[in-house]
């Protein structure tokens, strides 16, 4: 089902994306899925179901907190928001992600990975 232009998420990056989206304010699962797709300009193929185990895991690790609230359309939905711990985690993961991409990028641009 994956079309060639879309790619699967590397291991562990889904958590980072979720934390990033939730950082913008309390939001329910469906909205998180929408936003991930929107922000990544539909380039990422996230099977929407796989979002939930990740959400529950983050909640379990106390990086996210959840409560039930009404949506604009008046339905009950489970809203997630960042905890203090989640905020710290997002910060440190964002930094390490940036460093990683920088290093990998440098390495890949270097002709043949020649150390000189």
């Amino acid at each position: 089902m994956t079309t060639p232009s879309k790619f699967d998420l590397p291991q562990g990056t889904l958590d980072l994306l979720i934390l990033r989206v939730v950082a913008l304010g309390p939001v329910h699962g469906y909205a998180i899925a929408q936003r991930i797709q929107l922000i990544s300009k539909e380039a990422l193929q996230v099977q929407q179901g796989s979002l939930y185990p990740a959400l529950h895991r983050l909640e379990n690790k106390k990086l996210l907190a959840a409560e039930w609230a009404q949506t604009e359309s008046g339905r009950e939905a489970k809203f997630y928001k960042l905890t203090a711990m989640g905020r710290t985690q997002l910060k440190s993961e964002t930094e390490s992600w940036a460093r990683l991409t920088e290093v990998v990028g440098m390495f890949l641009q270097h002709p043949q990975g020649d150390p000189s």
Binding site: Q47, Q48, G49, H56, N60, R75, A77
Partner: protein
């Protein structure tokens, strides 16, 4: 929220999870419809985008961290339902496991009782046995002089006790004698025991030979003899004619030192008073057996105590050069166990080998039980293939299905263990009651037993459940290698147990009905315990000369002799050894009078018998002569590097170890000046019934020295006592063998029945086209022929190896006795054949036409 809270809230959380996912899905569909998609198409696409609803839920539960608990509960419920659905299988499986685990629990409980549990004494951890050893000698006893020296000088011991079992003595005018134990005055206080009535020994009051003579009664003896009457405290009783005051009674739970259970206790300081003429405390050559117990000082290890005691022994040697052996050393072992197992011991003390053997035998039973169940589960696995496939197709992960199936297995094992515990408890109760065990021994499992049982249960589950479960999940079909393996294991283990059982039964019969190499039926042993009554070699010599002369003049007496170690009735076995080509041979030595061989009916094979008082001469048993000089004439050879010359070879006897056909003996002449003369026993051969001589023997003994109360027994009685032990062991092993056979039969019945059910259609077709019954039976059984054969070969090989242990450690059975092997294998094969043919026979009774019509 803690995981416990989450677990409690499971139901609510399930609802929330469902609601959350539904909200997502419905929002997704709504958006697609708003974007102009057809409603049914919108649902289809949304479902594709979302993924499997149930899988997502399962993953969510897993990330919540309670899945394992929730799903285990679910698996257990499911497993229980599956078992309830096939009660026949469940019953068989639980029965088989209960027997397998139960036998192991029982064996371990017994081991735990005698060797691991502490006897109920104060501060059991620091109580130690102290024994002396040398490369040539093993004895539990220590001369009192050494004990006193260690008591006064050892800093590693905070207390030292001395205990000596005395010969039975008369009490007042009672016909039956009582067994006394002479103990140091600190015995009761060191063991932390209390009195049920009166008081026990007091270190300040019973500290010298001059203290007023006192006696403490054991609770059982008090009940039996005095009907638990407290008014007897302070009364005077006559022990061997000597007055003594009863000062107290031990409490019912007093365990003593474990395996000793005398009727009365007397202060060892007063030994010379009760046993007239004895000097156990001052005479360094006293022959009685005094054992030493001690308490380790705070923080001292047994090893450190051994080091200190060894140094003290070397100082002692200067004081008593004749008493301390060459290279003597001291062994300190934990002392608060009922039966201290000396692991790594030799000869009679080869406890480790026996324990290992028993352990192996009961493990074999468990092995048969597991193989058996494994077979049943494999068969069931094939039958449940459809169910498992369905679950895998519905999206369950293999791991999840495996876990579910293995939970079922564990549930089965746990049920088996639950059934095993009462079984083991009852059996143990029965054993304790029938052996008149001390009251403190309880059949109720303690923590060690429970841990052991749980571990065994888990191991059993791994053994019988892992292979079938893996095969079910991996969904291998076709090959029935697993089944064949299972059959082999069952047959091999049953084979080992059956052959061992028949070897032991044959050994018992052999002991019972074959010639032990000497005539015991007509012989009476008279043990006057001169050594305990202060006789010197010279006075003992006079006593024996008189006694022998008077006895031989009695009508009905055909011969009389002295011997240091009378066969069958002596309490302490002496062992010495010789190295032949670096191989150690254990020898039973004996010092005998010149008429000994005639009295015992031991034949002379070469040379001559010993002469009265002959120095520097030995007579060997044929077995010993053959071991020492396999190819030469032993007569005239020098024995070891002594001055002793071999003058004769006599027939082998199994005098000291009835069931050891390999026993070797060496005989020295009893010397009229030897220190061991006062310890000797007189043997009398009667020409009529030996018991009829008792009154005359008593009269003669009394007329020579009325102070003595000789113990008079027939060798026949000793023989019966010996045989009873061998019989008991053979009975236990036979029971295990029968159990193994029963399990193997159940297993094979199940497997063949299953094989027949699976091939009912094939059998029906064969019958329809006219195949004979024999042909069909052969075709079904062919699959089992090789595994059975393989199992038999493996079983025989294992038994042959094991029987060497038994031979060395226990019974001296001929380890390769062909009758036992063929008998056991024959029995096994016949029973297996019957077990295999029965289910096939049933298939023949089926209606061929209806089978062919109705099978798909």
């Amino acid at each position: 929220m803690s995981w416990l809270m989450r677990l409690i809230r499971t139901r609510a959380m399930e609802k929330e999870l469902d609601k959350e996912l539904r909200f997502h899905f419905e929002s997704q569909v709504r958006d697609k419809i708003e974007a102009g998609m057809d409603p049914s198409e919108a649902r289809r696409i949304a479902r594709l985008e979302f993924g499997g609803h149930e899988q997502v839920k399962e993953q969510c539960r897993e990330s919540r961290g309670t899945l394992w608990l929730a799903s285990t509960a679910q698996d257990l419920r499911f497993g229980a339902r599956i078992l309830a659905k096939s009660p026949g299988f469940a019953f068989t499986a639980i029965l088989v496991l209960a027997l397998g685990i139960g036998v192991n629990t029982l064996a371990f409980s017994l081991y735990n009782l005698v060797a691991l549990q502490f006897i109920p004494v104060r501060d059991a951890g620091t109580l130690v046995n102290i024994e002396r050893r040398s490369p040539e000698n093993i004895t539990p006893g220590i001369p009192y002089a050494s004990i006193a020296f260690y008591r006064d000088n050892a800093k590693s011991l905070s207390a030292v006790m001395a205990v000596m079992a005395g010969a039975p003595v008369t009490l007042d005018q009672d016909g039956q004698r009582v067994n006394p134990s002479f103990v140091s005055a600190n015995f009761f206080s060191e063991l932390g025991s209390s009195a049920a009535a009166g008081r026990l020994f007091d270190v300040t009051r019973e500290d010298s030979p001059a203290s007023p003579p006192v006696v403490v009664l054991s609770n059982r003896f008090w009940q039996r003899r005095f009907n638990s009457d407290s008014s007897i405290i302070g009364k005077t009783v006559y022990l061997a004619g000597k007055p003594a005051t009863i000062v107290g009674v031990t409490s019912p739970e007093f365990a003593g030192l474990g395996s000793d259970h005398p009727d009365i206790w007397l202060p060892i300081e007063q030994h010379s008073y009760f046993v007239e003429g004895s000097k156990p405390l001052s005479d360094s050559k006293f022959e009685g057996l005094i054992v030493m117990r001690g308490r380790l000082a705070r923080g001292v290890t047994p090893h450190a105590a051994e080091q200190e005691l060894l140094a003290l022994t070397n100082r002692l040697r200067k004081l008593y050069p004749t008493v301390i052996w060459d290279n003597e050393y001291i062994v300190v072992t934990p002392g608060a166990h009922f039966f201290p197992l000396q692991l790594g011991g030799e000869g009679l003390g080869g406890g480790a080998a026996i324990v290992a053997l028993c352990g192996l035998l009961v493990l074999l039973i468990l092995g048969v039980a597991c193989a058996n169940l494994g077979g049943l589960l494999l068969a069931r696995g094939a039958a449940r293939r459809h169910e498992i496939q369905t679950r895998l197709d519905l999206g369950a992960s293999r791991l999840r299905v495996f876990r579910q199936l293995f939970t079922e297995t564990l549930l089965l094992a746990a049920l088996g263990a639950l059934a095993a515990l009462p079984f083991s408890y009852l059996a143990l109760r029965l054993i304790l009651v029938s052996t008149d065990a001390p009251v403190w021994m309880s059949a109720a499992p303690d923590w060690r037993v429970l841990i052991f049982t749980s571990a065994m249960t888990f191991i059993a589950a791994l053994f019988f459940g892992l292979l079938p479960t893996l095969r079910m999940v991996r969904h291998r079909s076709g090959s029935d290698l697993g089944q064949r393996f299972v059959v082999s294991v069952q047959v091999a283990a049953s084979c080992v147990l059956l052959v061992l059982a028949s070897l032991l039964v044959r050994a018992t019969l052999h002991t019972l009905y074959s010639d032990p190499g000497f005539g015991y039926e007509q012989v009476v042993a008279i043990h006057p315990s001169l050594n305990e009554h202060g006789y010197s070699p010279a006075t003992a010599n006079r006593y024996f000369a008189q006694l022998q002369e008077r006895l031989s003049s009695l009508p009905g007496v055909s011969s009389v002799s002295v011997a240091l170690n009378p066969p069958l009735v002596n309490e302490n076995v002496m062992i010495t050894s010789i190295d032949v080509d670096g191989h150690r041979v254990l020898i039973y030595p004996n010092w005998v009078g010149s008429e000994f061989f005639k009295t015992m009916g031991i034949p002379l094979l070469r040379g001559r018998f010993l002469l009265p008082n002959e120095a520097h001469a030995v007579v060997l048993s044929e077995s010993l002569a053959l071991k020492r000089w396999p190819h030469e004439d032993p007569i005239g050879k020098q024995w070891k590097d002594s001055q002793d010359i071999v003058v004769g070879v006599v027939g082998n006897t199994r005098a000291q170890e009835l069931n050891n056909t390999d026993a070797t003996e060496i005989y020295y002449a009893a010397m009229s000046t030897a220190d061991n003369l006062p310890s000797m026993t007189v043997l009398v051969k009667s020409s009529s019934t030996p018991e009829s001589l008792f009154p005359q023997i008593k009269a003669v003994a009394n007329s020579i020295d009325p102070k003595l109360y000789p113990t008079i027994t027939t060798l026949k009685a000793g023989f019966r006592k010996n045989v009873r032990q061998v019989e008991q062991i053979a009975a236990i092993i036979s029971l295990l063998g029968a159990l193994a056979l029963f399990l193997a039969v159940v297993g094979l019945l199940g497997l063949v029945a299953y094989a027949v059910t699976r091939r009912t259609k094939e059998i029906a077709i064969r019958l329809a086209i006219g195949a004979g019954h024999a042909q069909i039976i052969a075709s079904v059984l062919r699959r089992f022929a090789w595994p059975v054969l393989f199992g038999l070969i493996a079983g025989v090989a294992m038994t042959a190896a094991l029987s060497q242990i038994i031979r060395r450690g226990l019974y001296g059975v001929s380890g390769l006795d062909p009758i036992s092997y063929f008998g056991a294998i024959g029995l096994l094969v016949v029973i297996l054949l019957v077990a295999a043919v029965l289910p096939i026979q049933r298939a023949f009774k089926l209606d061929v036409a209806s089978i062919l019509l109705h099978s798909d």
